[in-house]
């Protein structure tokens, strides 16, 4: 690459970094402002940062007075814990169901295997709009009313088609010799899978897990519909009930607090995510 080309490349990399980070920077700057600075300061930076909006999330008690309004305190720590549980359970349930199904579709290839995974993928076509009304009936029938378990099942159902698609492509593309050599050695199918194929598919599993995480993170609607008890809500459901005009900066602080663990997870696994997608779609190894 020529020298000019290299500078241009570095410049463009800078541009896409700014573009990607600016919205997050912008909301974070606002959330660090005092009420005075929110009105009179500059929108682009903060002169006297305060963590007031953040600490407010963790204060105990039931209500507080701000100005003339009485604002209820929020059980933010409970929400964070609930979100973590829902997230972990969704990822676990999705992977636990996706891996055997993907192995079956990709390796055992029952009649019409291609249509099984296509059929699963086709569920993404169903418009979610008013689907929550009959879904509520299902949730009631299962006895999961006002329980995070309802969300776990629904999120898994939303993430499963993609994860099965991805993992079955991965297992299907693996060279057959890998499995056969183990079978010739006398290993059972299960051992061959557990010892060889499953560890090999690590990156594809990471990709599926992160996709599930993205699915869970994207939802606000279902969480707000299915979780009504303040102490059973996730961060998304909880922040949604805040008063827009009085507490928007507190809510932004809540978004950032909830994002920190997710961002750390993603930073740890981002490389594996790309490798997993690549491996699943093409070479299979």
């Amino acid at each position: 690459m020529s020298r000019r080309g290299r500078w241009r490349h570095a410049f463009l990399l800078g541009v896409i970094t700014l573009y990607s980070l600016f919205p997050i920077y912008f909301i974070t700057v606002q959330s660090l402002k005092t009420p005075e600075e929110d009105v009179f300061g500059s929108p682009l930076w903060v002169a006297e940062p305060t963590f007031e909006n953040y600490t407010e999330l963790f204060e105990r008690g039931e209500a507080q007075v701000r100005g003339y309004a009485i604002l209820p305190k929020v059980p933010f720590v409970v929400w964070l814990a609930n979100s973590a549980v829902v997230l972990a359970a969704s990822v676990a349930l999705t992977l636990a169901c996706a891996v055997p199904a993907a192995y079956a579709i990709g390796r055992l290839r029952p009649t019409g295997w291609r249509w099984w995974r296509r059929g699963l993928f086709a569920t993404y076509v169903v418009p979610q709009t008013i689907l929550f009304i009959p879904m509520y009936q299902v949730v009631l029938a299962l006895g999961l009313d006002d329980s995070p378990a309802a969300l776990v099942v629904i999120y898994s159902a939303m993430a499963l088609p993609f994860c099965i698609w991805l993992l079955s492509a991965y297992y299907g593309n693996l060279p057959r010799e890998i499995e056969e050599s183990a079978l010739i050695e006398g290993a059972t199918r299960l051992t061959a899978f557990r010892r060889i194929m499953f560890p090999m598919s690590r990156n594809a599993l990471v990709a599926s897990g992160l996709f599930t995480l993205g699915t869970v993170g994207q939802d606000y609607m279902l969480a707000s519909i299915f979780l009504l008890d303040r102490y059973k809500q996730t961060v998304a459901a909880g922040l949604g009930v805040m008063d827009v005009s009085l507490e928007e900066l507190v809510a932004v602080a809540g978004v950032n607090m909830a994002a920190i663990p997710v961002v750390i997870l993603c930073a740890l696994f981002a490389r594996g995510y790309v490798r997993g997608l690549t491996a699943a779609m093409v070479e299979g190894a």
Binding site: C97, R114, I130, L131, D219, Y220, M221, V252, Y273
Partner: protein
Amino acid sequence: MSSYQPEAAIRSSGVAVSGVRRSRAVQVARRRDAWVAYALMAPALAIVAVVMAYPVAWEVWTSFTAFSVRDEGRAFVGVANYRAMLADTRFWYALVVTIVYFAVTTGMKLALGLGMALLLVRPSRLRGLVFLAVFLPWAYPGGVTVVAWYWMLNPPLITSYSLLAGNIKHAVDGVLGAGAWAFISVALFNVWRGGSFTAVFLLAGLNAIPTELFDYAALETRNGWQRLRHVTLPLLRPFMALAIFLSFTTAFADLANVWMLTGGRIIFPVIGTYAYWLGIRNGQFAEAAAWSLSLVPLLAVALLVLFRWFDRRAEQPA
């Protein structure tokens, strides 16, 4: 259909196979494999069926009845709801807006995603950090971030930039009609987040293309644009198809989130939010079901195209 030969399983059991015995053994093994396969698929299918089967059936059935808060009898009315919908000018307006919204946001996501992926695929010392930055918009929990984003672009109180935001809002609304800025701000969020997803997806696709192909292409083509058009884009097609389809499904979710968050005050003129409005605000469940199902034919066509693009590649021998 199935090209799988479970010979390995037979060899492993130590059976000397030849002639007739072999073919019967293969048959038995294949039948057993099929049962194992169904058993392994059962948990996943059960979850998807529990969550989707009854609700979808309910929605389709409801769209053929007169079910609403005023009429809980659920009398069967045939296609009356659909006929009323097709005669409604609001429907055609919403359909056009929906299609334009999907097309514009998806096009922007693809363009941005492709650009970012092409920049990231070139080796550079900064690549790791820039990659994380590009990954971040998607990683940030979208369901709540869209709220923060929405409030930032439509500030509710007098903040330091309310005047500026107000001016933009009035300028945009003046040209495109009331509520246009609110709509555009959500669309921008969707592009920001979806572009990041597409970039990572296409980067994975670019990584999958053998480098020799690019070296060869560099000899055969005159410039970068030609290479992009004749080599890179065709090879990326299955990845783009998948990214486009997933973009469709998220494009609406963001609007729905904001709609719910603002308590239904803002009506975006797209099919989905009208359906919400009919169903939740007006209690016309049957009409709402018909409206929301109206997009299924379009999405189904998109899905079939995706399957063609995606599976043809998968069928090639590795």
